[in-house]
């Protein structure tokens, strides 16, 4: 009986440790993989940087190294759209990142020049700003994608 109790305790402890580590970035059960695409948003396409799940061992959970403090858009003096995103690095290491912005019109149709990855560095425990400008002078929506440079 004692042996069974001990074994159960060890298994429980192991399960807790495994559960606390959460789902890895290549898990198929991450929320981000299947959530619907929303415009006027900033997303991390590199799940090492941020990920969440709803059906982990201990229910909902998430891990993040970076987060988006705020983002938005405004018109420039020639009528093009300026998009900005303020990224917060929560780690003690510098991260070299790439970001690109997809511009679409009100109907969700891609109308601007092709999105190109732009490189920038998020210093350790700091804020950094990413900016992108559209080429079209029509009112647009945006979707910013962020990943780590590899």
């Amino acid at each position: 009986m004692r042996i069974i109790r001990k074994t159960a305790a060890v298994v429980t402890a192991l399960l807790l440790v495994v559960g606390c580590q959460g789902l890895p970035s290549d898990s198929e059960r991450l929320t981000e993989r299947t959530e619907p695409v929303e415009y006027n948003s900033v997303v991390f396409t590199d799940y090492n940087l941020q990920r969440s799940w709803s059906d982990g061992l201990l229910g909902e959970g998430g891990r993040y190294r970076l987060s988006v403090e705020r983002h938005g858009q405004r018109r420039t003096e020639t009528g093009t759209t300026e998009v900005f995103a303020v990224i917060r690095n929560h780690t003690d290491a510098d991260y070299t990142l790439e970001a690109r912005t997809h511009f679409v019109d009100r109907d969700g149709v891609p109308t601007d020049a092709d999105a190109v990855w732009k490189r920038f560095t998020a210093s350790a425990n700091s804020l950094t700003a990413y900016r992108e400008y559209s080429t079209s002078d029509q009112p647009l929506q945006y979707r910013v994608e962020v990943r780590e440079l590899r």
Partner: protein, 217 residues
């Protein structure tokens, strides 16, 4: 002198292994029926399999895209009622860096992408086609060919602005690890061709480090 002797059992076990190795390795001329490494297309926006410290495709794409978007938010270039006439070619783009690059790649991509995106907000003058255009104009005026279908003008288009720029670099090598580092700075300026003032400026900079630098051609 120390002599090593194998136990009898081990020596016996080694005999078939050695024979098999000989058979496999010295089997003579044979067709090696395997596929070679196929050519792969790579995304020009990424570093790809070969990457060094010089200016590469992803830098050309990112640099020209950034400059294009920046120009289109400049009121003097893209916000005028009468679209300005602009020359973008590499006649005044100097490569003073240690990177090997055909500067036409920068100016051609910039001009083409800008022309497509500007959609009439800027007019592009092809000064490198001036001889070709003059030849046709002369032929029309000499009666060798007819006058075409569009219009006749007194002269070719004069430009309001012209792009100029410079590529510079700063190299460093770690003697112990042979790691090479290069800081590259690319400047672009749009110059008013009457006043000589600069109406727009753009800067692209990067620093790359690599242990085995690749050969650029």
């Amino acid at each position: 002198m120390t002599r090593f002797t194998l136990p009898a059992g081990a020596a016996r076990a080694l005999v078939p292994v050695a024979a098999a190795a000989l058979l496999a390795g010295c089997a003579g001329n044979q067709v090696e029926n395997v596929a070679g490494t196929p050519t792969v297309y790579e995304d020009p926006e990424t570093t790809g399999r070969v990457g060094g410290v010089g200016i590469e495709s992803q830098d050309v794409v990112a640099m020209t895209d950034e400059m294009m978007r920046d120009m289109l938010r400049n009121r003097m270039l893209a916000g005028r009622d009468v679209p300005p006439r602009v020359i973008i070619d590499n006649a005044y783009l100097d490569n003073e860096s240690s990177s090997v690059i055909n500067t036409n790649q920068l100016t051609d991509r910039l001009r083409i992408e800008l022309n497509r995106a500007a959609n009439g907000r800027m007019v592009f003058v092809s000064r490198e086609s001036a001889d070709m255009v003059q030849q046709e104009r002369d032929a029309k005026r000499d009666g060798v060919v007819d006058s075409g279908t569009i219009r006749e003008t007194a002269a070719q288009a004069g430009a309001d602005y012209r792009l100029r720029g410079r590529i510079t670099s700063l190299d460093a090598v770690d003697r112990d690890s042979q790691t090479q580092s290069r800081y590259t700075q690319v400047t672009f300026e749009m110059v008013d061709l009457e006043l000589g003032t600069i109406v727009w400026s753009g800067l692209y900079e990067m620093r790359k480090a690599a242990q085995d630098n690749v050969l650029y051609r």
